[in-house]
Symmetry: C2
Subunit: 333 residues, 2 copies
């Protein structure tokens, strides 16, 4: 286990504490992304896996398991499972969004083609499934099967809600639960389940992951209008160009006067975007305090995440998960 240094970022302290486990996860990921017959598979996967993602989801599984006193080996398999599911959804997302950059690099759909991204994503999803079967836990499989369904449903919902100004904050929350919170919640829950802790602690870690995931996605959506390209590793304004109804847009639309509404209809519903429209959209959000209101919601979810931790045993990892929650919103401080 690594050193403790209060000046480190919470994510780095978690990574240091879980360094041995994460090393085992990385070895397993590398083993299982291989393919006997199709070398394209590890090529595409390595491009994404080795781009230096934060490995936040597998770390949540490891942290939950260790915090619950787990001493076995299955947490490593489940952490790799969670990262494979995440990587599979990224590959498919980038096809659906026609994205060009991810983690600061060109996307796989750009470097290879959409076909490879679709099929390699399918392969990783199947591999994740093989890994979780190896844990011999029907409950773990049930949790991850349900999460997979919610993820896909959220993505379809996002697709049909895009370009639709009638999208409500309730629909947005369903989308966010699907695209982000479902896997965060499953990641922490399965860690608790394999440790065999009481149900109240399983539920607490599930609630922590859910609330953390929702806050994380709201922050991500805010950064798409406020961050710099370098800070988020992808292009800012992508959501605007893809006409996605994210929380700050929904809030600005709800407060729009007739003239502003005509603007949103043109750029989001009709997709007629001209130079200066992104800047104007940001100005409208600022005028109505939409960014501030969305930020307040993210902070409220972080409060729920931290409160959920209260029923868990005293443990250095509990403190790190607590700090991690704060850190998620610190990105938009």
């Amino acid at each position: 286990m690594g050193l403790m240094d209060a000046s480190q970022k919470p994510h780095d302290r978690l990574a240091a504490w879980l360094a041995d486990d994460m090393a085992a996860v990385n070895v397993l990921i590398r083993q299982r992304m291989a393919s006997e017959h199709a070398p394209r598979i590890p090529e595409v996967t390595a491009h994404l896996v080795e781009a230096g993602g934060k490995r936040l989801r597998p770390m949540l599984t490891l942290a939950a398991a260790r915090l619950c006193g787990y001493e076995g080996e299955n947490h490593v398999k489940l952490a790799a499972t969670v990262e494979f599911i995440h990587t599979a959804t990224l590959l498919h997302d980038d096809v659906v969004d026609e994205s060009q950059r991810r983690r600061g690099r060109p996307t796989a759909n750009l470097l290879w083609d959409n076909k490879s991204s679709v099929l390699v994503g399918d392969y990783l999803f199947a591999r994740s499934f093989q890994l979780m079967v190896e844990t011999d836990s029907l409950r773990v499989m049930d949790i991850l099967a349900n999460a997979s369904a919610v993820i896909a449903e959220g993505e379809v919902l996002q697709l049909t809600a895009a370009q639709d100004l009638a999208t409500t904050e309730t629909i947005y929350l369903n989308v966010v639960r699907g695209k982000t919170a479902a896997l965060f919640a499953a990641a922490t829950e399965v860690g608790a389940v394999i440790a065999g802790v009481p149900e109240v602690q399983v539920q607490a870690l599930r609630d922590y992951g859910d609330a953390l995931g929702i806050a994380f996605q709201i922050v991500d959506d805010l950064l798409d209008y406020g961050g710099t390209d370098a800070a988020i590793g992808k292009n800012t304004g992508d959501d605007f160009r893809e006409r996605k109804l994210t929380l700050p847009v929904i809030k600005a639309v709800a407060r729009a006067d007739a003239e502003e509404r005509a603007f949103w209809v043109r750029v989001i519903e009709q997709g007629e975007q001209r130079e200066g429209d992104l800047a104007h959209a940001k100005a409208l959000m600022a005028k109505h305090g939409a960014m501030e209101a969305a930020r307040a919601e993210a902070i409220a979810w972080i409060g729920k995440a931290r409160a959920a931790l209260a029923v868990l045993p005293e443990h250095p990892l509990r403190g790190m998960l607590d700090d991690l929650a704060d850190y998620v919103v610190a990105r938009i401080a």
Copy 2:
């Protein structure tokens, strides 16, 4: 259980015998393709599921389970699982192949868009996973997880082997095992597994599904050069236009003289296809007996499928599976 009529096609006799089970499968499929939040999901799924596919794979699971004396309810869940996996792969295949027709109707990627096909496919894959978890059988999950990985690997292999004249018959067999035989074999194997029959019978039903699937795909690939559009429900010549190295092409290329090889390099490797090229390709296959040779291989696999049935108990369904094997190659009689 339905009536027996020797004049019926084997597929129809199986359907009649398994009518009650198949009705239960169809009810379950309809229930589970629903989505609380995203109506696009059942729309896209219904388009494909209700287009009147042959339901061959779920029928194989039901037949295997009943032939092995199974009296429970899980065979219905597994049959729906297998059909969902199949439907998910069709949705993704049509995106990858840029297909326009499937089962005699426009494809989902054409009616909606590629995005919907990718994400609804993911949803069905997750739903299949939820269904199989409900059977509480780790062995069943292991079989279907492995099949899913082999399917995706076969699809990637097909993608990278396309346009490559160096593709061998061994590579073709790996592609075919992935794209078709893996799910046929898993479909029959899980039926035997839930029935709890001795290993030798589980293996026999797996071998039957594997050999039947390989023969089925070889026949499909032959029909793409020989069938009429109406007979196969999709456009003939699709494989040629997509520059796929299927068995008759591989055999014709292997026997090509220098001038013929230049033709194959142009149309397959370089993708420069002109009017009359498909007809010329067919003429070259005929000249070298490539269609006949591929047909002989399909018949040999059917022999293996039928031989595998020998260790199974006497049962009307055994006879129907035997006849079904013959019927698969009768399409190219």
